[in-house]
């Protein structure tokens, strides 16, 4: 069996374990998803029992598990409790583009600006800029994303009226506006959420990349390259940078959960109509199939991300293929 095939099998097994874990975590916690229905107004026990039967909550745990896994294998995440005429799939599909746009932008910023900044900082180790950047990244690393978002809203959006602070489009934008107007409108709405999420996640990227480059800079071949008389530029970017790529790829796997969790907060602060707000709304209404569905999707993305990172690393780094 080839290494790649085994790694894929392992990823699939990991995903299965995660799904089983999620299911039992939810069902073993005290109370069930319907027990809150009577909170706000009296709810007839007979109706509650009927609902339990409809969602299969009166069945034994294993039967429930089977009923949950079978449609899942076909990619069916079930039906929302809050919107009974919508499937979870359709709700997620509706919100996915917004999240992909925001997450993709942040990912791009992290893997260009973030890794470059980390390397740049490592090459200036011990200098004043190094210390300043270290303090700055440590501060950002300690900053809650939702709070940073609020502060940016306060400063840029409402004090100085520079940028829109909510939603993805201007609701007053005329419906026959040209594509260019629409596009700039979207970009303007994207700036604050993307900046917030990038700032809080880039701290980790920069610190990680700095450490990785410093590790490489200690190796013998760097000294060899320098004594060969290569220009420092070449030593840095052709030797050190290229050999730290493995660390960057590993970061990609570690880093997706951070992005996903951050987007829950940032989307809810900026009313960005993505998966994060969907999850936040679903928590408010205890719409557990939606929460479950988004969590399953998120862990699939996380598992897939680390699988791709591993495959790419092996493909790029010949040392891994021989051993």
């Amino acid at each position: 069996m080839s290494w790649a095939f085994r790694r894929m099998l392992q990823a699939f097994a990991t995903f299965l374990v995660a799904v089983v874990l999620m299911f039992f975590l939810m069902r073993l916690a005290p109370g069930d998803p319907l027990s809150r229905l009577g909170d706000e107004r009296p709810f007839p026990p007979a109706a509650l029992a009927a609902l339990r039967a409809r969602y299969g909550l009166d069945q034994p745990l294993l039967t429930q598990f089977r009923a949950f896994v079978k449609p899942l294998a076909r990619g069916d995440l079930g039906i929302s409790i809050q919107h009974p005429d919508h499937s979870v799939n359709s709700l997620i599909a509706e919100r996915l583009p917004a999240t992909l746009l925001l997450g993709g932008t942040v990912l791009l910023i992290n893997f260009t600006l973030g890794t470059w900044l980390g390397a740049w900082q490592a090459f200036r180790r011990g200098s004043k800029t190094d210390h300043l950047l270290t303090i700055f990244t440590l501060l950002l690393y300690a900053t809650p994303s939702f709070w940073l978002g609020l502060v940016l809203v306060w400063l840029l959006g409402t004090e100085w009226h520079l940028l829109p602070v909510a939603f993805m489009h201007d609701p007053l934008l005329s419906p026959d506006a040209g594509p260019l107007t629409r596009f700039t409108d979207l970009l303007r709405h994207l700036i604050l959420p993307a900046a917030t999420l990038s700032l809080v996640t880039i701290a980790a990227t920069v610190r990680y990349q700095r450490a990785a480059i410093l590790d490489v800079l200690q190796l013998d071949f760097i000294r060899t390259a320098r004594t060969k008389g290569l220009q420092e530029r070449q030593v840095r970017w052709r030797h050190a940078w290229r050999n730290a790529i493995g660390a960057v790829l590993a970061l990609f796997g570690l880093w997706l959960p951070l992005l996903v969790a951050g987007s829950v907060f940032v989307e809810s602060v900026f009313a960005w109509p993505g998966l994060g707000t969907l999850a936040a709304e679903a928590i408010g209404t205890r719409d557990y199939p939606v929460i479950m569905g988004s969590t399953i999707l998120v862990s699939a993305v996380v598992v897939l991300g680390s699988l791709l990172a591993d495959l790419a690393h092996r493909w790029l780094d010949p040392r891994l293929r021989e051993g």
């Binding site: 990991t14 995660a18 609020l150 306060w154 679903a282």
Partner: protein
Amino acid sequence: MKESVRHALRVTWARPEGRIGLIILAIIIVAALLLPPLLQDPRAQPDILNGSLRPPNSSHLLGTDHLSRDVFSRVVHGARVSLAVAAGAVALSITLGALIGLVAGYAGGWIDAGAMRLVDGAMAVPRLFLLLLIAAVMDHIPLTLLILAIGCTGWFGTSRLVRAEVLRIRQLEFVRSAEALGARRRRIIFRHLLPNVLGPLAVATTLAVGDVILLEAGLSFLGLGVQPPTPSWGGMILDAKPDIISAPWTSLAPGVAIVLTVLSVNLVGEALRDALDPRES
């Protein structure tokens, strides 16, 4: 144990970032422990009509919030809650992680394989989402349960770390000779392996405290963490969200408290790691 705590404090203090972290942290802890009796009741709403959203002044150091409650008092009381949740949850997660890592690493075989596959699966779900799942089915979340939930979802990384250390240490001479002398498994795990993973464990513990404070603030901001009227930093920011323009101090104060606390804890963690592993920095 006492000796190693003293040693950890000494090496942290020896580094500038560690010293700054320890000083800020000490100030926060002392304030959280000693100040509350001197302050106004954080739940009191003396004058909602005229005393709400007052800017900082001599009787309210950090102003008042939308219910005329004293923001400074709420920040200080929030520190108590945040630090208590962090201490409880991290104690739980580090203990679980250490135990499972020690046993899995030393026992090997199917125990190790099973535990590590479980950890792989659990780590595929971001911790926030694990907690959202738990919160989604709960009627209400008492503080002890919140601590339990955060603690039980935080041990996966620690167990991997400890297991990796154990795999290395168990090959060393002193463990081999203890085995040859017929020492029991429990004795080897607790007398020979555990003391040798305390260093990495101490670093993991400090960094975990920062993570948990951010996590608890986030959960409280979503309305799923510490429940009102108990003051918490995340909950204060949630309450202050509509007033960010008219009364920014109500959200700035708890936010700065979070940043300072997490920053100081992380500074201590960094200093500790650099002291124990001088390879980087």
